[in-house]
Symmetry: C2
Subunit: 892 residues, 2 copies
């Protein structure tokens, strides 16, 4: 009967006996193949495929996912025809293996495994050794001449079956085993002898009876039915449902059930088992890699009771088997066109492959394998580009600790910004700057950081905070700087007065060395050596292919010449977001900024701004030079003014002293500027509307810088970006103000430069009225951080108290501040792109904000037709690859 | 030449001499009529109309608005043909009046007035007595035999001409006048004699020469040209431009210029002048109303130097003129079909009407006039409905002070909530409650109010705060309660310790009487008597017509049985928003609420909620009963939990004592619940997701109440509303939770009631995904307060610091928290309505929030097809009328 017929009758809903519910594999020919994943599950399809291409696989059969669906719809009863088909396939399997289920003289044992079309750790996994009973175990003893093996297999079967099929608490079994070991003075399970294990079996059966109120089933077919049903039922257990929700696995019928003959690697010196990779999963080198054990089972390799030998040794010790294995390795890789992770067993000299799958690998290996598979003509460039997970590249771009050294973990926090850093502990931003100036490598340790700490964070090798999450100030700034940061290490106690912190028993004083792993969120005592990232030849090759493929330009978010240089090295094609406010915190500038804020009138503000002008102009000159003519988008002042004032009394006094005003004046200003919802307050272009002199100074600085560099022969086309625009009129007023200022500068300098004036789209209203805004905006840049906060109605800082529950309950499937909420925010972006382009066909549109470095958000940006994404410097390569994949996936 | 020809040639842009630029009126026949407002301006069209219907109007002519446009486009030069047409019309005017411009024996004097199609206070207003010069003044002396009158007219002309035409500072003229008065010992202008005024004229001419560097023009035609140009120019002065922007006046060409013969009421005992209304503008009574002066000019009536006599006296003293005037009154009213405000002058026995316009009137008069004009068959009901400004009705719905008594204003603040209140001063909410319980009328005086003051606010007659704006807590809550409130009276100093406040020199102690006018924002010393509002027969009639016309239902926002009763009296057809949180602040409830917040686990919270359940159930029973079967929409808990905790140390201690926990526990909880942006924090349905037991308790209370009343024979269909929903999934989870709870209650009670479960649409994401949300929502209610805040990206509380500049610069034309921002928020609402109805054709959709009571927002709601609006009880009649007008205006 053909698959087509099976499908047809299944569709019609009839329980016709002719529906094919079971697919056999074995004897060099399977009923199914690799393309039938949705019907046979990933595992079943793969086993069928291997059989078809002649790989020696223990025979077996797969009960289809459709059967699972019928079972569930049928009130948890087997659909008509299933029993007959299962019995028919058992017979076929018995014939194929020359063994018989339940036959004490020549028993067939099988494994039962679940396997859906998508990998699903939430479901029931495996029952091994099914088919054993009080009689068969005796036959096994005779056949294997290994009584201990037989009893051990039996007790494992009862335990596994009890646990996963019948929900008997696993602990109860373990308890018996522990007691037995105490009783006989055994340290590990392996020291128990056959008699001990025989007694354990007896006790296990008692536990089974107590819990299930029935005897442990002796009939192998009954065992098989029960185990199969357990697999079916596991499809709808809460863990599995949740896993599907979280991972957006939809449209599947159910799980398949794989029933496969057991083979044993522990049947003497001509048996063995092993795990290997077709290439080195660490480096990607095209060299057979793996390990094996003679006279052992798979579990033994994993458990580490005996030390396995490298696969090279097999080549010397057992060249015949090695040769077979190596041939299979090459065939599997060629067939699957990817590096494979293979499990094999040798039973009495016969080699079986139990599983093959694409091997997990490091980022370095992923890049090397992909590039080399192209050179070996196994893959096209397009295929290779899709083989590397862009997120993984992060590993390659930051320094890492040399893995060989010993590490003493003293605390663990959030992996807030990747990388490895080692240095001396300091507790203030000022100290960090002072020590760094003397050439010391420092780690800045703070309870939490604030914008005033920027200078210290900038010079520190790494940042450690006791409070704050993945989106705290420290985390966000550190990621922007590409600097290692471990945040929210709640177990450390920082004492600023005594200049030390404790972590458990460890006491760390100012000047002591610590090391941070920002990718793992770990804090180590002492100095560790790091390995700098190398953007190797293969990496460069892959990036070149990505650049040839992608349509989106990739820019960076950067506020300093240093950021700009790093980003250009990583392939950035411009700055998409230069935040001018960070420049306001450095050194003397903050004094002038505060002077401006305290000024009671426009004249006073202008006097203070005049001091800032040359510094800001210098910043822009530096950035323009570093960007070598690439476009630079500069956002005018965005944060509310109160962010520039000290909140603590001592700092207010200090500010008052510096500015020579009574401290009351400072306090009153802080109070006057207080906001209930700063996110929704007096910030962004609202500052430009109320204090046009601030924006005028910034525009002047930008244009003066461009004019100055023009005289040096550089062509700069600055892109002036107005933040937080909600209406066309706001942009109109500020564009007019900018043009007026620009024309003044041109007149003064006696020269002109090209420039653009555009806007952030980050207020929902701007997106909704994008057709009107586009009448005067020369470009759009989506500020998806704010756009997400306003569209979803919650702030990053405040969502921590409920976001856990929201993700748990599947209200949002992913962190919306990391990956664009396509259904909500995304639909608004799409609307704005359409409206904007309706007004201005060639409107340049990009995205800044953290989503610009997130692969799936990049795919979205590509889909809606943006021109570029902008992300932090260290994410530029990730974005380049993700942008290429977006193009390739859209083609599919 | 016909108008058609004039238009044609004007369109072709030619400056053909045949274009009609000037329109004559007089001699019983005008070139124009009332329909030609856009060409002749409102004033010119009206003068033409009056002439056409035979009203005696001093003759004159109007230079068209097109001419103004040609003048401005023509580099501020008169277009070809204008001079000839003006001269031609002067000749016609001279002939009509039997006078001659510049003729010293028989001079014609004219007035020059601007007049656009829309009323525009920003432009030049009036120059009187034009045509006077050194010779003509002598002729005027001879003709009027009144030397003083002639010189006074001349000096007034020079001053007015100098000021409005030539921009000579008015102060300089006033200074001369003052000096002259000092010199001769005169107290007022009227004590200056002819010689004094002659000297003033001499000095005025000198000032004119000094400022303009030219002699005061002697040629009347030159005077006329200069004055005409000044009117043209005033069209584009900054005030006028801004006025047009703010009032959305667009598409007009320019202003017309009206040149009209002067008539004089001060030419002896057979002359006079007056102002009258065709009906009483205070009460609307159909009785001739007005006042007049014999031998006087219009200015004298206004200036109050002499006391005018009531128009009734004219009937006795000069019945011939009265009869003429009364006949004109009836004709004008019949013609314009509205109560008219008429200016008239009698020159030597001849009656002239100088102006007629629709008269301003009180709300009471507006209602009465509209209803009576229908009875008199002058208007249809539809026309009558459009004659009353809904906003004006507010006056009728609140008590007012008896206007006859003397009032001592001691301070002024914001008119935060209308009405009049008088009572004894108390300084705490507790005192307010205690005093009120003893039957005292109290005014609650606070620096600012907080949710804890609700109880005191509820029993007070009025509320006075020293801080806070129109959207402060006090203002919002008071408006909701329909209670008089004056907010932000910054000039008062409140001292809680000594229990008194000072306002200037006044010291007001606890227990002293004060009175508040919440419509004017005034604070009075002492006790004032108030007049209760009467919803008179005419009012009821008008409302009945409105109800017959409107399509929108009108509901109320109400949280108590009292609110519900008031609203039903005002015609509410249901509750659109019942905020359950207000119920949490009363008496013992706050203790249970705080106990719940402090509880460390679900069981603890449930124990506290169990105490709240019977109280909340009682609330709902009361409201259901008061609403007599009208639908009631109940919003589940919305505000963040920290709003229920005390922020001040003393109150925290108090709470700790009551709950018998260490004060540290309270402090820590307050700290833990602190939010950076509470508007964007853990509130609304996010509380329901994280603490389902809270919503479960509220749903139980609602359904138990409905079941209990069912047993009493009432049919209640409660509408349960989930706030702050952003995704379908949130609503799904909470709907499931509600249904589960409801079914439990049904089982326990052994009965069932109908119910609906719907959602607020107040998060932009919910609007964007309304099609999906509508799959499970049974109704939508737009929460436009939050929707505006999130869509525009600013909070009401924080926008004060920049909103002034935003309105000044025309970025927003109206207060977006009062009137829906149609372009932005409105487009999102429209999208949501369309998407919602696409999923569910008959989805019930309404609006709650302050916009629901704003007439132009109501028109918007009508346009997008909502089913109902909901507003505070006192705005219900306003909404009913506005909803009717929306239907009528849409028909047009």
């Amino acid at each position: 009967m053909s698959t087509a017929t099976a499908k047809k009758s299944s569709k019609s809903g009839s329980k016709s006996k002719t529906t094919k519910l079971v697919y056999f594999f074995g004897n060099g020919k399977s009923d199914g193949d690799a393309k039938m994943k949705s019907l046979l599950g990933g595992k079943g399809a793969n086993l069928a495929e291997m059989v078809n291409i002649g790989i020696p696989v223990p025979a077996g059969f797969t009960i289809t996912t459709e059967t699972c669906d019928l079972y569930n719809k049928n009130g948890k009863k087997w659909p008509a025809g299933l029993e007959a088909q299962v019995r028919e396939n058992i017979a076929k399997l018995e014939k194929s293996m020359g063994l018989k289920l339940g036959d004490r003289n020549n028993p067939l044992l099988v494994s039962i495994r679940s396997g859906a079309a998508a990998s699903m750790p939430g479901m029931m996994d495996t029952v091994l050794n099914l088919g054993l009973n009080s009689e068969v175990v005796q036959g096994l003893i005779v056949k294997t001449e290994n009584e201990r093996f037989a009893w051990d297999s039996y007790r494992r079967f009862i335990q596994m079956f009890g646990d996963v099929v019948m929900e008997v608490p696993s602990d109860d079994f373990e308890h018996v085993l522990e007691k037995k070991k105490q009783q006989v003075g055994a340290k590990s399970d392996t020291e128990l002898n056959a008699n001990d294990l025989k007694d354990v079996v007896r006790q296990f059966k008692k536990i089974y009876l107590d819990h299930t109120k029935e005897e442990f089933p002796q009939d192998p077919f009954e065992q098989l039915v029960k185990a199969t049903n357990a697999v079916f039922n596991s499809w709808n257990n809460p863990r599995a449902i949740k896993y599907r929700q979280i991972n957006e696995i939809r449209g599947l019928l159910g799980t398949a059930v794989n029933i496969q003959a057991m083979v044993f690697g522990n049947m003497g010196e001509t048996s063995g088992t092993g795990v290997c990779f077709t290439r080195n999963p660490s480096t990607g080198e095209n060299k057979f890699y793996g390990e094996y054990l003679i006279n052992a089972q798979g579990e033994d390799v994993v458990a580490g009771i005996r030390t396995p030998e490298p696969i090279d040794v097999l080549a010397k010790k057992w060249p015949v088997v090695y040769k077979q294995l190596n041939a299979l390795r090459l065939r599997l890789e060629k067939h699957y066109k990817d590096m494979q992770d293979i499990e094999f067993t040798i039973q009495e000299g016969k080699l079986y492959i139990l599983q093959t799958r694409n091997g997990k690998r490091t980022a370095a290996a992923a890049v090397r394998v992909a590039v080399e598979l192209v050179k070996e003509k196994m893959l096209t460039k397009d295929q290779a580009l899709l083989r590397v997970d862009p997120k993984q590249l992060d590993q390659l771009l930051h320094p890492t600790f040399d893995p060989k050294q010993k590490k003493d973990v003293i605390a663990k926090g959030l992996p807030a910004s990747p990388g490895a850093a080692t240095g001396k502990v300091v507790f203030t931003a000022e100290d960090a700057e002072a020590w760094a100036a003397k050439g010391e490598a420092v780690i800045l340790v703070r309870i939490e950081t604030s914008p005033e700490d920027i200078g210290g964070m900038n010079v520190a090798k790494g940042i450690l905070t006791a409070r704050g999450g993945m989106t705290s100030h420290a985390a966000v700034v550190a990621r922007g700087m590409g600097k290692c940061c471990v945040a929210g290490v709640s177990e450390i106690q920082i004492d600023y007065k005594t200049r030390q912190f404790t972590a458990g028993k460890a006491v760390v004083k100012e000047g002591d060395f610590i090391s941070l792993d920002g990718s793992l969120g770990q804090v180590y005592l002492g100095k560790l050596s790091t390995i700098e990232s190398k953007l190797s030849g293969d990496f460069a090759t892959l990036m070149k292919w990505a650049d040839e493929t992608r349509k989106l330009k990739v820019r960076t978010n950067g506020d300093t010449p240093h950021d700009a240089e790093v980003a250009v090295r990583f392939g950035a094609e411009g700055i998409g977001l230069c935040r001018t406010e960070h420049m306001f915190f450095e050194g003397d500038r903050i004094i002038a900024v505060r002077e401006m804020i305290l000024a009671s009138d426009k004249a006073g503000r202008e006097a203070a701004l005049a001091k800032l002008l040359p510094m800001q102009r210098g910043d822009f000159e530096g950035i323009f030079e570093a960007m070598k003519g690439f476009p630079v988008t500069i956002r005018l002042l965005d944060p509310p003014l109160h962010e520039f004032l000290p909140q603590e009394a001592a700092n207010q006094q200090e500010m008052a002293d510096v500015l020579k005003v009574p401290v009351e004046v400072v306090k009153q200003k802080v109070e006057a500027l207080h906001e209930f919802n700063p996110m929704l307050g007096h910030r962004g272009c609202r500052l430009g509307i109320t204090y046009p002199e601030i924006y005028a100074m910034q525009v002047r600085a930008i244009i003066e810088a461009a004019c100055n560099l023009k005289k040096k022969g550089m062509k700069i086309v600055p892109e002036i970006m107005i933040p937080l625009v909600g209406t066309k009129k706001e942009l109109q007023i500020l564009k007019d103000l900018s043009i007026e200022t620009i024309n003044k500068v041109f007149a003064e300098k006696g020269t002109k430069v090209e420039y653009m004036i555009g806007t952030m789209i980050e207020v929902p209203r701007a997106a909704l009225t994008a057709d009107k805004v586009a009448e005067i905006a020369e470009f759009f840049s989506f500020g998806t951080n704010d756009l997400t906060q306003m569209t979803l109605g919650f702030s990053r800082d405040d969502s921590g108290s409920f976001m856990g529950a929201y993700l748990d309950q599947g209200i949002y499937e992913k962190d919306v501040f990391q990956t664009i909420d396509e259904e909500g925010v995304g639909s608004l972006i799409q609307l704005a792109v359409e409206k904007g382009r309706k007004t201005k066909k060639d409107l340049k549109i990009g995205i800044c904000g953290e989503h610009g470095g997130d692969p799936s958000s990049i795919a979205f940006c590509n889909k809606v037709g943006m021109n570029y994404v902008s992300c932090s410097p260290y994410r530029v390569p990730i974005a380049r690859l993700a942008a290429a994949q977006a193009v390739l996936n859209q083609k599919k």
